[in-house]
């Protein structure tokens, strides 16, 4: 069974302390259902919800207020990959014939919980030792710089590029352009990462309606979707955290789709921190390991380049309400492939990819990674 995304929608992203979770979800779900031409919420066979910090019962509490009741609701927590995990499971449920019309919804309200970095988890050995997520990526950056000679300027170039892209995305949290010097001079968070190299916490929701592909003119076909969790990551690995998991998940997704990385026209990847995009572009096979810094400097991954990465502005500029992020990435690629991404459109984009990687558990290479290839 071939599956397609028939509609997508998102709330605004950003710090929205006066907005309720129901309000955020309402914007995302209404837009996605209208986009798919579904006017009766009762027509849904199931809802998969991705959220990390949602309170117990958050999914039915939000959905019943939108008139979505009775259909089974399944809640997924996979750290930063929660939204794309919900999407992946929705896709698999349709592909295997279990359900026909499935809503995937990502939700997160973070401003009520955190002022700065997400608090590390005290039941985790590294979390208990104070390893907040910026420091995990800072450690990766230090290793990447030492092994490959990646420079602070190359790290900062990711933030500059993605902020420039966000100027064309009215739903992004940070839209004002920044210079390389401003990025490097911003407040240090965890060396070598500075404030403008870290995604902001945010409130937001995003949704997608998936169903069998019918050949409709606006549907975006799912060529493949892959979900993996990390292998053991310990003294045997010469690679930075997340590289092997992203590489292996991407290989699986590209193999299932029959697509080579060089064929991709547009990508939305997990850039919670600048080093994340550099490592991910290497893991996806856009360049060799160690060449991710040079890749961003080359302009190939900028809008106007051959393979734009994060035309939405990425997590760095759109903001990162964890559970919502994956579905916002899906929405961006759907808009790009339909030619509806005014202000940041990748001309003639036909083949797109989304990658999200969630971390925070010591001893493994990531809690989960999702890679999906979309086509129109």
């Amino acid at each position: 069974m071939s599956v397609a995304v028939h509609g997508v929608g998102t709330s605004l992203f950003g710090k929205q302390p006066d907005e309720t979770l129901v309000g955020l979800a309402h914007r995302a779900v209404s837009e996605a259902l209208a986009d798919a031409g579904v006017d009766d919420p009762d027509a849904l066979d199931a809802v998969y919800v991705g959220t990390v910090f949602g309170a117990p019962g958050v999914a039915p509490r939000v959905l019943h207020a939108l008139g979505i009741t009775r259909a089974p609701i399944l809640c997924v927590e996979n750290a930063c990959a929660s939204g794309t995990s919900a999407y992946h499971e929705a896709h698999e449920a349709i592909r295997s014939g279990r359900f026909e019309r499935v809503l995937a919804l990502g939700l997160e309200q973070m401003t009520a919980l955190f002022d700065g970095a997400i608090h590390p988890e005290a039941s985790d050995p590294e979390g208990r030792s104070g390893l907040a997520l910026p420091s995990l990526y800072a450690l990766a950056a230090s290793r990447h710089m030492a092994v490959y000679g990646t420079t602070p300027q190359q790290l900062a170039a990711v933030a500059v590029k993605n902020r420039r892209h966000a100027g064309g995305n009215p739903r992004a949290q940070r839209r004002t352009p920044v210079s390389l010097e401003e990025v490097l001079a911003s407040r240090p968070i965890a060396d070598p990462l500075t404030l403008l190299q870290c995604c902001p916490i945010a409130d937001g929701a995003a949704a997608a309606l998936l169903a069998p592909a019918r050949g409709g003119s606006r549907e975006v076909r799912v060529r493949s979707s892959a979900l993996r969790s990390g292998g053991l990551w310990d003294h045997r690995s010469p690679h930075v955290f997340g590289f092997e998991l992203a590489r292996d998940t991407a290989r699986l997704a590209c193999e299932r789709a029959g697509v080579a990385p060089r064929e991709l026209d547009v990508l939305e990847v997990h850039d919670a921190f600048t080093i994340g995009e550099i490592v991910t572009t290497e893991a996806l096979g856009l360049c060799a390991p160690g060449e991710g810094g040079g890749l961003v400097e080359s302009g190939r991954t900028s809008l106007g380049g051959r393979q734009p990465v994060n035309p939405s502005g990425g997590l760095l500029s759109r903001g990162h309400p964890l559970g919502a992020t994956g579905l916002a990435q899906i929405a961006e690629i759907v808009w790009q492939l339909r030619g509806e991404a005014a202000g940041r459109q990748v001309e003639g984009a036909r083949l797109g990819l989304v990658e999200t990687l969630g971390g925070g558990v010591a001893g493994i290479d990531g809690n989960a990674c999702v890679v999906t290839v979309l086509e129109r």
Binding site: G130, A146, A190, L232, A362
Partner: protein
């Protein structure tokens, strides 16, 4: 409510040196700093083992933002202990970020209970 068990590696002082009191697989020799019921690599049985005191910095940073219960700055490094596991250790941030590849030695756990390293003499 009872407090959660401390999941961090346990540091002991033996024969004049600080070591990680961990476990090693009796079948494949995989070293573990964290408590586990079986070897995660081959499912073999585990026996108590000591690791350290010396190792090499795999990656390092200095954290400059607060989290609950901690005041910045503090140094964090992944350290590959010789013939042992990779652990997350703290270090004093005053002399800057530890270089990748530097030789370090385990110290007594910090007041907060964190494994701690310093440049090897």
């Amino acid at each position: 409510m009872s407090p959660q068990p401390d999941p961090r590696p346990r540091i002991v002082q033996e024969e004049g040196a600080c070591r990680v009191a961990g476990q090693r697989c009796v079948a494949c020799r995989h070293p573990l700093a964290y408590a586990a019921p079986r070897c995660p690599v081959c499912r073999g049985a585990l026996a108590d083992a000591r690791f350290g005191p010396d190792g090499e910095v795999f990656a390092a940073t200095i954290v400059r933002v607060p989290i609950p219960g901690r005041t910045p700055p503090w140094g964090l490094a992944y350290v590959d202990l010789d013939d042992g596991p990779r652990i997350l250790a703290h270090y004093a941030p005053e002399r800057g970020v530890l270089p990748v590849g530097a030789r370090v030695r385990l110290r007594a756990a910090s007041r907060e209970g964190d494994p701690t390293v310093a440049l090897a003499p």
